[in-house]
């Protein structure tokens, strides 16, 4: 593909990511930070996030299966961290799921927590795929 086409594709992908609500303005901010010194800044950030988030997910899962009593406070804390992390690069949908999860936590809704968490993982993975593709361009 020639350069122009690549650029086109990139722009298109980017736009769709935004339109579909996967990313928000924070992503723009990060892209603004990108410069010649750090041409792949955004990509680096996202990579960092994903390597870190694996840890989050693991923690949360472990906390959730803890029976008999699930420590909602702890879950909430984890999710808080996760939410912050995902907001760092504008992962809009992921962030939304985090908020929802936290709501379930505060309500003590285990079922809701589990369900939300599944959704969250899904969003998390989807976004990753999309961004990977995006960065490859």
């Amino acid at each position: 593909m020639d350069r122009k086409q690549l650029q086109h594709q990139l722009a298109y992908m980017r736009k769709s990511l935004f339109d579909q609500g996967y990313l928000d303005d924070q992503f723009n901010q990060l892209e603004d930070l990108q410069d010649e010194a750090n041409p792949n800044f955004v990509e680096e950030v996202v990579t960092l996030f994903y390597s870190d988030s694996a840890r989050f997910i693991q923690n949360i899962e472990q906390a959730m299966i803890k029976k008999p009593n699930i420590d909602f406070g702890k879950l909430d804390d984890y999710m808080h961290q996760f939410k912050g992390s995902s907001s760092s690069f504008g992962a809009k949908k992921v962030k939304k799921e985090c908020s929802q999860f936290r709501e379930c936590c505060s309500a003590g809704n285990i079922e809701g927590c589990i369900k939300t968490f599944q959704q969250l993982k899904q969003e998390h993975a989807t976004l990753r795929r999309k961004l990977e593709t995006y960065f490859q361009v």
Partner: protein, 543 residues
């Protein structure tokens, strides 16, 4: 939770502003680092909050969801701003303003102090003091009260309030003794009303009230205003003495915040009046600027050195020790309001003069400062405060070690003399007058608040809260010797103040007269390299 703090490295804002970013999230660390670098700040990242906390006193706190409780906690701990994640560039660009603002205040305070000092100097006509006096308005630093006074600092600071550096005693021992005698003669039932009328006292009161407003701390007192009553007459001395203990928090950098308010003592009438009482000495309290740390490493507060005449102030941070004064004391001593500003390095417990033995020293540890006599050592870590020892009416403790020469303690009463008519004791007043004048000569800007009322109020305020004072502001009147450290961030008040006297200590942060500002935060952060700039109004001015 992320923390970030800034400390300007140089004068040119905002570029070069040093920022410390702490976050447990590596993703955010990376992003913030980049963002801040784009703002031309100098960034340091830290992944361990604990380490960062050790160094910082103030920080910017960001929270993802902006929960009020989290925000409050941050603010309580000295955050000057709270940013919600995700952080925007424009928000970051503005953080330098906090630092700048602080600096401006600091400069302003210094200017005020200098102005006062020069005024004082001119009046020193027949100066009894030769050199040894320190006093300088320069050291008056406005201490902004810190909203958040960390308890840990408190404990630490309270214990050791030794002012490392004390200004040389202005008063000669002889004078002091005379003064003490005079004061004793006066007794405690000196009407304050006359004092109140004193314009200077009024001014002081005004200042105090202003201070008080600005103070968040619950114990506004610090002022030893109690001198109201007792002071009214002979003493007239310091209306309020505040000892501000500032903990040198600045580890790497000099100053860190102690948020103490410097208590400004008004000199009711600096000029030696004709045989009346005179005045007061304004004690410019150098407040360690909380944000001094912002100023980057200030190993020593230049300010302080200025303050101290002849005493090089070593400690960069000034500790303001507030001695909580004992309410009962106040009643006893008319001149309770002697603020002692001391740097506290390692605090030497203040010892009250024997004369004050009767003064029940409140349990507050903070008060111990009252008898700190060793001015010099304290300075090392804390900004050296020029100390002016004010002879306690009761007795002057010669222990002022650092007074090079004569540590004449000028009893607070003496200093307070000023406008307070010491009619009761003519003889003593004379002494006082002389002593006060000598004090003045020193250039010590200690204005004793002759405003008995206000002092009384202050004392009252101070007392009760003193006990509970978690913040550093403690006013302790040293019944015995009190040191007025000009420019010292530590102002110590003898503890013998009668709490009843203090109804509300008006602590004025900044009085035109550069009164000593009562530092609300007694224990100014200890060893905080960066004081950052939090909203906290107190900051030590490290010049």
């Amino acid at each position: 939770m992320e923390n970030g703090f800034s400390s300007p490295r140089n004068d040119s804002f905002p570029a070069g502003l040093r920022v410390l970013v702490v976050d447990d999230d590596p993703t955010w660390l990376k992003i913030l680092e980049k963002m801040l670098k784009k703002c031309s700040y100098e960034v340091t990242t830290c992944g361990l909050a604990r380490d960062a906390l050790n160094l910082l006193r103030e920080r910017k706190v960001m929270s993802v969801d902006g929960e009020t409780s989290r925000v409050m906690k941050g603010v309580q701990h000295g955050a000057c701003d709270y940013l919600l994640k995700p952080i925007r560039m424009k928000e970051l660009r503005n953080i330098w303003q906090h630092v700048f603002r602080k600096k401006i205040h600091e400069v302003r305070d210094i200017e005020i102090l200098e102005g006062i000092e020069s005024f004082q100097m001119t009046r020193n006509g027949s100066d009894q003091y030769e050199d040894g006096h320190f006093l300088c308005g320069e050291d008056l630093t406005s201490i902004k009260k810190r909203k958040d006074i960390e308890s840990k600092h408190d404990e630490k600071d309270i214990g050791d309030n030794t002012s490392t550096k004390k200004a040389r005693v202005v008063w000669s021992v002889e004078l002091h003794q005379k003064f003490v005698k005079a004061v004793n003669q006066i007794g405690f039932d000196i009407p304050y009303s006359s004092l109140k009328r004193l314009s200077s006292m009024q001014k002081y009161r005004l200042y105090l009230s202003r201070l008080q407003k600005g103070n968040d701390f619950n114990n506004p007192v610090g002022m030893i205003k109690q001198s109201d009553s007792p002071l009214s007459d002979s003493v007239g001395s310091f209306g309020s003495q505040n000892s501000i203990n500032l903990q040198p928090t600045d580890v790497s950098n000099g100053c860190y915040g102690f948020s103490g308010s410097s208590l400004v003592l008004h000199n009711v009438d600096p000029r030696s009046h004709d045989g009346d009482k005179k005045i007061l000495v304004t004690t410019p309290v150098a407040e360690p600027k909380r944000g001094l740390t912002v100023d980057a490493p200030n190993p020593r507060k230049p300010r302080i050195s200025q303050m101290e005449c002849g005493h090089p102030l070593a400690p960069p941070r000034s500790e303001v020790n507030f001695a909580t004064f004992d309410s009962s004391l106040t009643t006893k001593y008319p001149w309770c309001g002697i603020p002692e500003i001391r740097l506290k390095q390692e605090h030497n417990p203040l010892h009250f003069n024997d004369g004050f033995s009767h003064l029940p020293m409140p349990g507050q540890k903070q008060l111990t400062r009252a008898d700190y006599r060793q001015p010099a050592p304290a300075i090392s870590s804390a900004p050296s405060l020029t100390e002016r020892e004010i002879g306690c009416p009761v007795k002057i403790k010669p222990s002022r070690n650092d007074y090079g020469s004569n540590a004449s303690h000028v009893s607070s009463t003496a200093s307070a003399v000023d406008s307070i008519p010491l009619q009761t004791k003519t003889n003593s007043t004379n002494h006082q007058v002389s002593s006060t004048s000598s004090m003045e000569n020193q250039g010590l800007n200690m204005n004793c608040l002759t405003d008995v009322e206000s002092s009384r109020k202050n004392i009252n305020l101070g007392m009760p809260p003193l006990a509970t004072l978690d913040e550093g502001l403690q006013v302790c009147f040293v019944p015995g010797d009190y040191y007025m450290n000009l420019g010292l961030q530590n102002i110590e008040f003898p503890e013998y103040f009668d709490p009843s006297l203090l109804t509300d200590v008006p602590i004025h942060l900044n009085d035109g007269l550069s009164c000593c500002k009562l530092k609300s935060d007694l224990r100014t952060s200890h060893s905080d390299a960066l004081t950052g700039m939090a909203l906290c109004p107190f900051y030590a001015h490290s010049a």
